[in-house]
Symmetry: C2
Subunit: 676 residues, 2 copies
């Protein structure tokens, strides 16, 4: 083998490599970031593979868990136009890798030509060539069955050629399908090429893709708005949360709250002695991010709550807000982690002219950044040790992206089950970057997307755009920071339609309760989105037994989600044409279409609206004239539909949404009785 010429092409160690691999998908930013999947998913990989001339190319998908030494492989199948595909199933958490190997295959090229040869002498020469290639395959085969079988085949073929066998006989031997399958298992990979990029997959547990969040202030758990709630009080809420069907119970910060510059009720700057302050002003003399607010209880009581929640099928998610109250211990112990003003004081958070004197942000440009990073990673470690595996991260977009990429990788290295939700309500590319660097789920603009056009555009982008590989939306109709205008003015019908939209458009969604299900709609200021008497600054009393409560309605929605795999993923969303701009319609389906849910929502909270849907029957796996049943999972009503065009009418005062399971196989004649 001679030395390579001076200016060898980038990827060629050997000029005899004639194959090309291009456009491997999925791949995020050229492989810089992993795609995201959950346990059990099948990952389809495609690539363009081709060589020069008309020789036959073959290619394999290679994959492995990042901790495995060896690669698994499967042959890729041609899709036409030089594109190839194969899939693999992921069966363990953590990071997986995949890439593609391709080669010009001498045996397959020979076979391709052999089928097309006409002349007897030509066939005999080619048969001898084939016998040599098969003999080489036998040499590559390990000792055992394959080698012997191939050797016998090579002898048969060479023998027939020497004996002057007729063309049909040569073809019969040379094109033997069963023996060719054996030869294909021993490809000549001497001039194979492996794609230059090893793509990565972050594999998480299923809850990363499908989760129902209930945000709740433990401070109000006592229920009377006077006594400070405890973890023990929170236990009493578990059956209520379970009945509503939520599987994640998310607490705002539960750490000691700073006393310096503490905020009063409704975000005032003159708190009374009984005021509790904002839980996001973290740290006081009792401790910082690894301590608990004494009023809530002890670490032991917190761990007990986590266990009790688990018994109810509920996981506790913690709030991670990396910022300090002025009396946080770290301010004293690590002054180098904070920015200093020219007058020597520590720089509080500000966005001029606004000031947040009760919050000191960390300085991610600190020269001591490695120790700051390690300390913050330690906070995750601490709470993971207490049994927490889900974190909602507060304002991650105000901390360095590089830190998140590092800390999430650090945590996942030991705890691949941990789920991170990014609370970044900010510019689109910033939100996407946070998802790319590792956050499992992301808050979205759903909170402010109200019209049919807005919702259609946004969820089409989320589920069909490039972000679908790494950005998992988590849709919230409200949060403690955001009481959207629509909820302030639309009344009960809007609460119902907004939660129905969130629960069916997004596989991950959440509400801030009990404010939501109890229809809390009072804003602090007209034109603003802050709640009046916000729990962020005070204890609240909530009447769970209010007859107007949407708890039962939400329970039905969450049961529909739990019973229908189509609602547990974002991939299968397709909007449906409906001839009324006040109504939105969409279908969600599993990849095999065994479960299909069709949703129709009346976006007008004041009037009955009706319209004609035009369904894409082929996409739903339906025949043109087939009758099919639509079973409304919210009301129990059934409708018999037929063909593409069907009529829907929704009265917002009764139920602004249909969430209908499509049943295309009616089992008995009597199934029709529903409609008679």
């Amino acid at each position: 083998m001679s030395a390579a010429p001076e200016v060898a092409p980038v990827e060629l160690a050997d000029g005899r490599i004639r194959v090309v691999i291009e456009h491997v998908t999925p791949l995020v930013d050229g492989g810089r970031f992993p795609i995201k999947r959950v346990l059990g998913d099948s990952i389809e990989v495609q690539a363009d593979c081709f060589g020069d001339g008309h020789d036959v190319v073959a290619c394999s998908l290679l994959w492995r868990h990042a901790r495995s030494a060896g690669w698994q492989s499967a042959p890729m199948q041609p899709l036409g136009n030089d594109r190839w595909s194969a899939a693999f199933v992921i069966d363990a958490l953590g990071t997986w890798q995949y890439t593609v190997r391709a080669w010009v295959d001498p045996f397959l090229s020979w076979r391709h030509d052999f089928q097309r040869r006409l002349e007897a002498e030509d066939l005999r020469v080619a048969a001898r060539t084939g016998a040599l290639l098969i003999e080489e395959a036998a040499q590559r085969a390990e000792l055992g069955g394959d080698a012997a079988l191939l050797r016998a085949w090579a002898q048969d073929l060479a023998g027939a050629a020497s004996a002057g066998a007729a063309p049909d006989e040569l073809r019969r031997i040379g094109l033997d399908e069963a023996r060719a399958a054996i030869a294909r298992r021993q490809p000549d990979l001497r001039h194979s090429l492996t794609f230059g990029i090893t793509a990565k997959v972050t594999v998480e547990r299923r809850r990363a893709q499908f989760s129902s969040w209930y945000e709740f202030f433990p401070r109000s758990a006592a229920g009377d708005g006077v006594r400070h709630g405890t973890f023990a009080d929170c236990e009493a809420w578990l059956p209520y949360v379970q009945r509503m069907g939520f599987d994640v119970l998310y607490f705002p910060p539960i750490h000691p709250i700073g006393r310096v510059q503490r905020k009063g009720r409704n975000n005032t700057r003159d708190p009374g002695p009984a005021d509790h302050g904002s839980p996001w002003a973290i740290g006081a003399e009792e401790g910082g991010h690894d301590a608990l607010l004494p009023q809530l209880g002890t670490l032991e009581e917190f761990r007990r709550l986590v266990r009790r929640a688990d018994e109810h099928g509920i996981e506790i998610a913690m709030d991670i807000a990396f910022q300090c109250a002025p009396d946080h211990p770290w301010v004293r112990e690590h002054p180098e982690w904070f920015r200093r003003r020219v007058d020597g004081s520590i720089q509080y958070a500000e966005n001029p002219p606004k000031k947040y004197e009760d919050i000191y942000p960390f300085d991610f440009e600190s020269n001591d950044w490695p120790n700051l990073w390690r300390a913050l990673a330690g906070i995750f470690e601490f709470w993971i040790a207490q049994g927490v595996s889900m974190f909602r991260v507060d304002n991650p977009h105000t901390k360095a992206f590089g830190f998140w990429e590092w800390v999430i990788a650090q945590v996942r290295e030991k705890h691949p089950e941990v789920i991170f939700l990014s609370e970044a309500f900010t510019r689109p590319k910033v939100m996407h970057r946070l998802a790319k660097v590792g956050f499992s789920q992301s808050y979205t603009y759903f909170t402010w997307r109200n019209t049919k056009q807005e919702l259609t555009d946004y969820f089409t982008e989320l589920t069909r755009g490039p972000g679908r590989e790494y950005f998992r939306p988590n849709a919230w109709p409200n949060t403690p920071d955001i009481l959207p205008a629509a909820l302030q003015w639309g009344g009960r019908a809007v609460f119902m339609s907004r939660v129905a939209l969130a629960a069916t458009l997004a596989a991950n969604y959440g509400i801030y309760g009990p404010a939501f299900e109890l229809l809390e709609a009072r804003a602090l200021r007209a034109g603003g989105e802050e709640y009046q008497d916000s729990e962020k600054y005070e204890l609240r009393a909530w009447n769970r037994d209010d007859p107007a409560s949407l708890a039962a309605y939400i329970g039905v929605l969450n049961r529909a989600r739990r019973d229908n795999a189509a609602l547990q993923s974002d991939a299968g969303l397709r909007f449906i044409d409906i001839d009324n701009d006040q109504m939105i319609a969409y279908a969600k389906s599993t990849p095999d279409r065994s479960n299909i849910v069709v949703c129709v929502v009346n976006l007008d909270p004041h009037h009955l609206q009706s319209g004609w849907l035009t369904l894409d029957l082929a996409a739903l796996g339906l025949e043109a004239n087939q009758a099919y049943q639509m079973h409304d999972l919210l009301t129990g009503s059934h409708f018999l539909w037929q063909g593409a065009r069907n009529y829907v009418s929704l009265d917002p005062q009764r139920s602004p949404a249909h969430v209908m399971q499509l049943r295309s196989r009616l089992r008995r004649e009597s199934d029709f009785d529903y409609f008679l």
Copy 2:
């Protein structure tokens, strides 16, 4: 500075780098391949640049010729949504590089906040902070004017703050625009990030983007079809080719033609002793790829022809066909460069059941590939030394892609003026790969795209798809291998419309003449595309003075191309709606819209067709009710148009195409006389 944590993110040497650079464009396959441009082009580069929080980010475009040590730079301007843009002009041939640098800018962040501060004390503290930042900028400035100016500003600002200056006074000093411009020249780049990919540009001369090719067999240059043409005979054709307006005269191979297995007339296998064989069967006892067919003349005569062509503004393009006749000297000298059959003979070219016994392909899997590569590179070098700078490469898709990438880079390293045309009529991804690995221009499917829909789809893909950065189409209505069915049956009108389409849709185009302008339409076999009595196998007599000749028509087309910059690039093509499926309409314009050409072609060769165009007036820079003149560059006719909808009628027997220059500024009232 402390050590980095264990699992540092890929691109972070320093955790304090808070800025992100994403989605830099243009970039081909993540920077694996260069984009292509020509001398004098301005290259606009865009990137997403942003940081965490609300600090202000700044970024620069960096560029250089690959042979320069230092980078040039220019500030990028925000386009909104975290996207930035800047451009640079290329003023030398060869490879250029560009990348992006971004940083969180402390001075600009300070300035952004300072503008928004309201309270006097707050402003005074901030003024002192600003003075420190400006002082730092002064330290970064080299000794000289900037440092002194900045230091004075810092003192002014700090002084005013100490003296308790009023808010307005502090703002006046602190927000001084002129002084801020000086500070911006000295950014704090300590935590800047440079994009991980250095993008490449292949910069070629203008002819790579705009060229008019005339393919001509020198063997027929004597004109009588009996005597073998010579280079001296070719000289006599130069004025004719010049009058038609072509600037590239491309010769099929001019090397000695093999005698072993020589083909007879019309590709028969029993040549007579007077038959000349196919010039693509290269090599005989007289020599190989670096020799000339003795009948054509000597190397000295060839060089003289190259010089004489240059005097006519015409460049000679050579055919590079890397394959050998059986009697090519290399077959004897380098048997290891060819594949061997099992019977010991050398493998001829075949695509079973077809055989090409007069052609031996090179074996690009030869163990001696480095020497083969060097020998083939030597062929380019040899002809470049004779004055040739344009090569049409025959069937590059049957040779290894890696070889082309290497050899084109090798040649361009010393001869950046050399232009390579890829003659690959094959699958789309293969054609694109050849363009990516370096070919300047590529043959296209134009030859078989006849209908309005086909042409619209194909040229939209070529000019708007990702290939626009690297794939320069060269459109041919015919070649010696392809007499398309449309030309066989459509008559003169189709010859006219096809050449008009090629010349106006594509900035690079060519014809195989005189067969084309003399309307040669006789096919060897019905249903095939081979010419009857093809010049590939015999000498032909051509009557240049045939009154039916399209030479004058083509001359007018080429003059329109030469006079209209819009026709000299593929970027400015936009199709225009016209309400007749037999008619196609499109506009081409320069980026500044100073030159706009509107073309309308009747695709029906038999009937007069007419229709209404709907122009996008805004895209053409026209007012809604403005009158504008359309000057037909083919006929000299003028039309006065107004508004978006205008009527066109074309009689294929007279002229099936309008190629109209849009003149929106009528200079005098009398300009209207044309239409009265």
